[in-house]
């Protein structure tokens, strides 16, 4: 009906706005949902109300006119021309509500003095302007025409007041919808903001725990609602997690003390035996092998303990501002002979400097470890590149690379890529590197170098 003419452009506008803001946060999403529901309910109510009031009147009016037209048609069939016209003039004269006219081939009867153009055939009604003596002005009336025996019957009614009502109804409806929209947005925003504020608290706490702050807890309010229940559960979970964390740390410390000491003593005894054997000139090969194996065990062990410690550690106050360029050049200096022995090539592009806050020894180890890995796995004649960017560094090689599905796994403790099992190693280097990088609040990612592996390390540099 008429309302849809107004609704169509506004609906288009709403869908456009909807699409644009669909990436917004859930505050907006919730508000939009709430507002559109409210608008829908108010809209339906208005449509029903319209149908029951204005619609009903207009339908009644049309039905009446059709009824009248039909009546005249039947009468025209029954009566002769003169009787019918007399009857008609009587009817037209007495009817207050309806304006009746009859146009025959040679004359016109009734209240109209001309045949309106574009008039519909009953029961289709249309509005048209006429001069009405009663009001002494041109008015818009609605009516229809019906051809009968005697000519064409025009039946109409003055519904200016109904039209006024309709217009008022529509403007009132628009105002109501606008109010509903405003109400929806404000209340929606307020409520969803309240809800989300609490969810955001949960998020920030989770983030702090992720960052290693195991003591962070979600605040619990006195309202004892669902959120407080959730907060209590999360806090309990965090406490458990913290306990087991400490338990692990405790176990590793215990291992460090209880297992390392006897292993250390074992090492001392073997070494003593070695010295004695040297003196007596007997064969030392066996003892040397034992010592090497024991050293390998002690090394893995030390690295594991170190890894655990690094993963639990938080950024230390002993961190200093360090020039990454120095660290990378030192590491490149150290690895260079090995790379040359493997017939590989190393280039360092350190044009862009990078200052970071951190622990020089740890960063050196990380860089050296990555270079060592590149040299170990890239194969003969590989080209290894180190590039310092403003935010960190990139180490790339032209070796076989790592399959995509293993890129994450190589950071797991003791994980080794299938093809690399033949190469000596413990699967602890990359986890250690990642622990060091994370300790520095930096990110490490493995990418494809087409061909080869590209290790990208990015620091959150201050600028």
């Amino acid at each position: 009906m008429v309302m849809f003419r107004y609704l169509k452009p506004s609906a288009a506008w709403v869908t456009e706005w909807w699409k644009n803001s669909s990436q917004a946060s859930s505050v907006w999403r919730l508000t939009r949902l709430y507002t559109s529901l409210l608008l829908l309910v108010v809209g339906i109510l208005l449509v029903v109300l319209y149908q029951l009031s204005v619609g009903q009147i207009s339908r009644n009016q049309n039905a009446q006119m059709n009824h009248l037209a039909l009546q005249q048609k039947l009468l025209a069939e029954e009566l002769n021309q003169t009787d019918f016209i007399r009857q008609f003039e009587l009817q037209a004269g007495s009817s207050r509500q309806y304006i009746l006219s009859l146009i025959t081939t040679d004359n016109m009867y009734g209240q109209l003095n001309s045949v309106p153009k574009n008039i519909g055939i009953c029961p289709e009604t249309a509005r048209f302007p006429v001069w009405l003596d009663k009001y002494d002005e041109i008015r818009l009336i609605s009516g229809c025409s019906q051809s009968i025996e005697a000519g064409v019957l025009v039946i109409a009614t003055d519904d200016e007041s109904l039209y006024d009502l309709q217009r008022q109804f529509i403007s009132a409806s628009l105002i109501a919808l606008l109010l509903a929209l405003l109400l929806g947005i404000t209340t929606g925003l307020i409520f969803s903001h309240r809800v989300l504020k609490r969810i955001n608290t949960f998020n920030s706490i989770a983030q702090r725990v992720e960052g290693g702050e195991m003591t962070a807890r979600v605040p619990v309010s006195s309202k004892a609602d669902e959120y407080d229940h959730m907060a209590l559960h999360i806090n309990t979970m965090l406490s458990r997690l913290e306990d087991s964390f400490h338990a692990i740390a405790g176990v590793t410390d215990a291992i460090a003390h209880d297992l390392r000491t006897p292993l250390g003593h074992l090492r001392q005894q073997i070494e003593q035996g070695l010295i004695d054997a040297h003196k007596s000139g007997s064969d030392t090969q066996n003892l040397e092998q034992m010592l090497n194996k024991l050293d390998a065990i002690l090394f893995t062990f030390k690295a594991m303990l170190e890894l655990t410690r690094l993963e639990q550690k938080q950024q230390s106050s002993s961190f200093k501002v360090i020039d990454l360029q120095v660290i990378i050049n030192d590491a490149a200096d150290l690895i260079l002979p090995i790379i040359e022995d493997n017939q590989q090539y190393l280039t360092v592009n350190d044009k862009a400097g990078c200052m970071v806050t951190g622990d020089a020894t740890l960063l050196f180890r990380a860089v050296y470890n990555l270079l060592e890995n590149a040299s170990k796995y890239a194969g003969k004649h590989a080209q290894i590149n180190v590039e310092i960017s403003g935010h960190g560094f990139i180490i790339s090689d032209s070796g076989p690379g790592i399959p995509d599905n293993e890129k994450d796994k190589v950071f797991q403790r003791l994980y080794r890529v299938e093809e690399s099992r033949s190469i000596a190693g413990f699967g602890i280097g990359l986890p250690l590197v990642r622990a060091i990088i994370r300790l520095h609040d930096a990110q490490i990612s493995l990418q494809d170098n087409h061909p080869g592996l590209k290790v990208v390390v990015n620091f959150n540099t201050a600028e």
Partner: protein
């Protein structure tokens, strides 16, 4: 040559006692911090081996008390605490070297010898070093074997310099790494051997007596035969 060993583990104490005696040192033993401090203040030792986690008085307190009392005896800290921060703490309190447990005896002996020798000749500063016909000029960074000038990379120069400064002494791989790169961890690969092999190739010329020898299981030694 008298060395004080302050160590609470009986096994390690006996082991150190035996090993050091075999090297010709006289050894005094203390099993806790208090006794250790008492002995250290009472006598003049060439060196103190000090554990960190000790009953009664911890190692770092022993060390700081000793230094405050004006005793400058070289102290080598032995500790299971192996992080760089702990190491820095130990050296700041006045330790001269820091060795992480479990350690190799060879490493310990090398470091003991260096500490004792350093104490003896710390005043002597020369701008030239010489072993047989190998000379290096510390100011111009030039290296000569006889009349032949040898071109070295900066790190190779540092390596050679450290070995020549400690000519006659066995230098372990980790000591070399610390001295040349100044990072404190064990690269645990043969990377230092590769560097020494390169240096050797450049320095040991045909027709000259070999000077840089490998001491099996211990490290390297620059020696004039």
């Amino acid at each position: 040559m008298r060395i004080l060993v302050v160590e609470d583990s009986a096994d390690t104490r006996q082991y150190l006692h035996k090993a050091l005696q075999e090297q010709g040192y006289e050894v005094d033993l203390a099993e806790n911090g208090q006794d250790g401090l008492f002995l250290a203040l009472e006598h003049d030792y060439q060196l103190i081996l000090l554990d960190r986690m000790l009953p009664k008085l911890d190692g770092l307190s022993v060390l700081s008390t000793l230094r405050n009392a004006g005793k400058q005896t070289p102290v080598l800290i032995l500790s299971a605490l192996d992080s760089v921060a702990e190491r820095v703490k130990g050296l700041r309190e006045g330790g001269d070297d820091y060795l992480v447990k479990p350690f190799a005896l060879s490493e310990l002996l090398v470091r003991i010898e260096i500490l004792i020798k350093r104490k003896g000749e710390s005043t002597e500063q020369s701008s030239k070093l010489q072993v047989a016909d190998l000379h290096i000029d510390l100011l111009s960074h030039k290296v000569y074997r006889g009349q032949t000038e040898i071109q070295l990379q900066p790190k190779e120069f540092k390596l050679l310099r450290y070995l020549m400064e400690h000519a006659g002494q066995v230098i372990s791989r980790s000591l070399l790494f610390e001295a040349v790169w100044d990072y404190h961890f064990d690269p645990q690969t043969n990377v230092i051997d590769v560097h020494v092999a390169r240096l050797r190739k450049k320095v040991e010329l045909d027709g000259h007596v070999p000077l840089l020898e490998t001491v099996r299981g211990m490290g390297y030694r620059m020696v004039e035969k």
